[in-house]
C-alpha cells in the first residue's frame, strides 16, 4: 500500500531521511518511533506527498506519489492533523464535513452520499454528543476525536496519524488508540502512526519502525525493536525505565 525505496530527504544540507526503504501492506498497523529529530514527521510528509525526496521513490497504492495530484493523494490517504487552531467558530459537524472535500462536488458541495459518510464517521468515532458545539471550545481529547472523525469521513484506505496522543491524558490516549486499532481490525484501514510513547506503541501496534537520525535502525514486532540495548543506544536512556512503562 505504501512503498518507500531508497528515500533521502534533505533540509538544506542536512539529511532528514537517509536511504529509507519501507513497505507497509494493505491492512497493516505500523507505528513509527524514534527520538526527537529522528525524521518521523518527515517520513509522514514524504508519504503524504508534501515533501519531495531528493533521492528515491515513494509509491501509494502502486502509483508514484509525485505523479498524483493533491486530490488523488487525499482519496488514497487521510491524515489526522495535529490539533490546528480554527480562525472562526466552527461546529463539530462542520469540521467532520471537511473530510469530504476530496469527494464532494467541486462547485455544489456535499452530495447525499457525503452527508451519509459524515454521519457514519460521527457515529463510528462516537462524537455524536458533541454535535452543534464550537470545535474550539472542546477539550483537547474531544478535539482529537473530532479530527479523527474528519479523517474517517475522508474514507481513504490509509490513515496517517502524527502524534495523535500528544496533549492527551491517559484515558483519552487509550480511547484514541483503541479506536485506531478498531478501524484497522474491523474496517481494514491501513494505519501509519508516529508515536512518542513507546508503551502505547508497543501495546497497540504489532509492528514498530524505529528511526534514528534519518535511518531505519529496526523494523519488526515490539519485543524485537524495543530490545534493551537498542533503547540505550537510540534513546540514550536506561532501558529499565522504558520497560517499566511497556
Amino acid at each position: 500500500m505504501i512503498r518507500l525505496d531508497g528515500v533521502t530527504v534533505l533540509y538544506r544540507d542536512r539529511a532528514a531521511l537517509r536511504d529509507v526503504t519501507l513497505q507497509v501492506d494493505a491492512g497493516e498497523r505500523v507505528a513509527v518511533i524514534g527520538p526527537n529529530g529522528a525524521g518521523k514527521s518527515t517520513l509522514l510528509r514524504v508519504v503524504a506527498g508534501l515533501l519531495a525526496p531528493a533521492a528515491g521513490t515513494v509509491e501509494l497504492a502502486g502509483m508514484p506519489v509525485a505523479r498524483l495530484d493533491r486530490l488523488a493523494v487525499a482519496r488514497r490517504l487521510a491524515v489526522v492533523p495535529q490539533l490546528p487552531t480554527l480562525p472562526f467558530a466552527t461546529t463539530v459537524e462542520e469540521v467532520v464535513a471537511l473530510g469530504r472535500l476530496p469527494h464532494e462536488h467541486p462547485i455544489r458541495g456535499m452530495r447525499p452520499g457525503d452527508r451519509a459518510a459524515v454521519a457514519a464517521a460521527i457515529e463510528r468515532v462516537g462524537v455524536g454528543h458533541l454535535l452543534g458545539r464550537d470545535a474550539r471550545e472542546l477539550s483537547l481529547g474531544e478535539r482529537q476525536l473530532v479530527l479523527l472523525a474528519m479523517a474517517v469521513a475522508q474514507g481513504s484506505p490509509v490513515l496517517v496519524l502524527d502524534e495523535p496522543t500528544v496533549h492527551l491524558d491517559l484515558r483519552h490516549q487509550i480511547e484514541v488508540m483503541d479506536l485506531v486499532g478498531d478501524l484497522n481490525a474491523r474496517d481494514g484501514t491501513t494505519i501509519l502512526a508516529v508515536l512518542h510513547d513507546l508503551g502505547l506503541a508497543a501495546h497497540f501496534f504489532p509492528r514498530l519502525v524505529l528511526l534514528d537520525r534519518g535511518r531505519i535502525v529496526a523494523d519488526g514486532p515490539p519485543a524485537e525493536v524495543l530490545a534493551p540495548e537498542r533503547i540505550r543506544e537510540v534513546f540514550g536512556v536506561d532501558p529499565e525505565f522504558v520497560h517499566l512503562r511497556v
Binding site: R70, V79, P81, T85, L86, P87, T90, T91, E93, D134
Partner: protein
C-alpha cells in the same frame, strides 16, 4: 430580542447534522428583501424625493421595457436613470465586491482581522490617486478619470509587490504575507503623506478619495468596474472548496486535496482584483469588507460556499444603505457612515461572542 441575541439564538437553535445547512435559505431571503428595499429607497430618496411607486414604475419602464403609463415628470426619470441608478448600482457592486474579497482574505490568511485592504491595496490605491492629483495631466482612460485609473493600478501593484516580497522559496506563508503587507503599506502611507503635503490645492481631492463615496458615480465607470468585480467574485466562489480546506491550515488543507500554493495565489489575485476595481469606483470605504463576512459567519457558519454569496448580498445592502444615509445627511463621506455604523456593531458582536475569536 436584540439583533445580537437573535443571531446567537439562530446559531444555538441548529444542532444535529441539520446544522450543516444552518438556515442559509432564510438568510438569503432576508438578504434579498433587504437589498431590494435598500435599492428602491436608495433611488427614491435624495434632495429631490421621488415616490417609491414612481421609482418602481420608472425602473419597470426603462429597465424591463414594461408599458407603464408615466405618472412622473421627465426630470424625475432623468434623475432616476442617469444619476441615482448608477449610484446605487455602484454602491451595490462595490459593497458586494468588498464583502466577497474580505471573506476571501479572512479565509486564506486564516485571520478574522483581515479585510480587503490588508495586503496593501488601500495604501497602493491611495498613493495612486494622490499621484494622479499631483500630475498636471487630465486623461480619461476607459471612462475612468486618471485618479480612479491610477488607484486601480496602485492597488494591484501594491499587492503584487507584497506577494513577491513575501515569498519564501516557492511559497508565500501567510504570516510572511501579513507582515510584508503591513510593511509595504507603511511605506506607501509615507509616500501618500508626502504627496498630500505637496498637493496644495489638490489636497481636498485626495482627501475625498481617502474617505470614499459614490457621488461621482457614472454608467461608464460602472460598466468597466462591475464586470471585473463580478468575474473576480464568481471566480472566488468557484474556489470555495479551497477556502474551506484552508480553515484547518496549510498542511491539513493539502491533506484534504487542496493544492495550497496554487489556490492561495489564485484567490489572492482574484480578491485583490475585486478590491482594486471596487476602490477605483468608490475610493476607500472601510468596515463593509471586514464586518459583512463576520455577520454572515455568525448566521450560517464558516462554510465558504454559503459565506461568500451571502456576504456579497449583505455587503451590497449595507453599502447601498450607507450611501443613502450619507446622502440624507447632506453628502457626508460614505466611509464615515460605514465606520460609525460598523465599528459599534462589530464591537457588540465581539462582546457577545467573546470566545468567538482567537488568533
Amino acid at each position: 430580542m436584540s439583533p445580537g441575541s437573535a443571531i446567537l439564538a439562530a446559531r444555538a437553535g441548529s444542532t444535529g447534522l441539520a446544522g450543516l445547512a444552518r438556515r442559509p435559505v432564510t438568510v438569503a431571503a432576508v438578504g434579498l428583501v433587504l437589498l431590494a428595499v435598500a435599492l428602491v429607497a436608495g433611488i427614491a430618496a435624495g434632495t429631490v424625493p421621488i415616490a417609491p411607486a414612481d421609482t418602481i414604475g420608472i425602473l419597470a419602464r426603462r429597465l424591463l421595457g414594461l408599458h407603464v403609463t408615466p405618472t412622473w415628470t421627465a426630470a424625475a426619470e432623468t434623475i432616476v436613470i442617469d444619476l441615482r441608478l448608477p449610484r446605487v448600482l455602484s454602491a451595490m457592486v462595490v459593497g458586494a465586491g468588498l464583502a466577497t474579497a474580505g471573506a476571501a482574505f479572512q479565509g486564506l490568511l486564516r485571520n478574522p482581522l483581515a479585510d480587503p485592504y490588508v495586503l496593501g491595496t488601500a495604501s497602493g490605491a491611495a498613493l495612486g490617486a494622490a499621484i494622479a492629483v499631483l500630475i498636471p495631466v487630465r486623461a480619461l482612460i476607459l471612462q475612468f478619470g486618471l485618479i480612479h485609473a491610477l488607484a486601480f493600478v496602485g492597488a494591484l501593484g501594491a499587492v503584487l509587490v507584497v506577494y513577491r516580497l513575501s515569498r519564501v522559496g516557492a511559497s508565500s506563508p501567510m504570516t510572511s504575507l501579513l507582515l510584508t503587507g503591513y510593511a509595504v503599506s507603511s511605506l506607501l502611507a509615507a509616500g501618500l503623506a508626502m504627496a498630500m503635503y505637496l498637493s496644495g490645492a489638490g489636497l481636498r481631492q485626495i482627501f475625498s478619495f481617502l474617505l470614499g463615496g459614490f457621488d461621482s458615480s457614472s454608467w461608464g465607470r460602472l460598466a468597466v468596474a462591475a464586470p471585473l468585480i463580478a468575474l473576480a467574485s464568481l471566480g472566488i466562489l468557484l474556489r470555495a472548496r479551497a477556502l474551506n480546506g484552508m480553515l484547518l491550515g496549510d498542511d491539513a488543507a493539502a491533506h484534504l486535496g487542496v493544492d495550497v500554493r496554487r489556490e492561495r495565489a489564485i484567490l489572492l489575485a482574484l480578491a485583490s482584483l475585486a478590491t482594486a476595481a471596487a476602490v477605483s469606483v468608490s475610493g476607500l470605504i472601510g468596515f463593509v469588507g471586514l464586518v459583512g463576512p463576520h455577520v454572515v459567519r455568525l448566521l450560517v457558519g464558516p462554510n465558504a460556499r454559503l459565506v461568500l454569496p451571502l456576504a456579497a448580498l449583505l455587503g451590497a445592502s449595507l453599502m447601498v444603505g450607507a450611501d443613502l444615509a450619507a446622502r440624507l445627511l447632506g453628502e457626508i463621506p460614505v466611509g464615515v457612515v460605514t465606520a460609525v455604523i460598523g465599528a459599534p456593531f462589530f464591537l457588540a458582536l465581539l462582546r457577545r461572542t467573546r470566545s468567538g475569536y482567537e488568533l
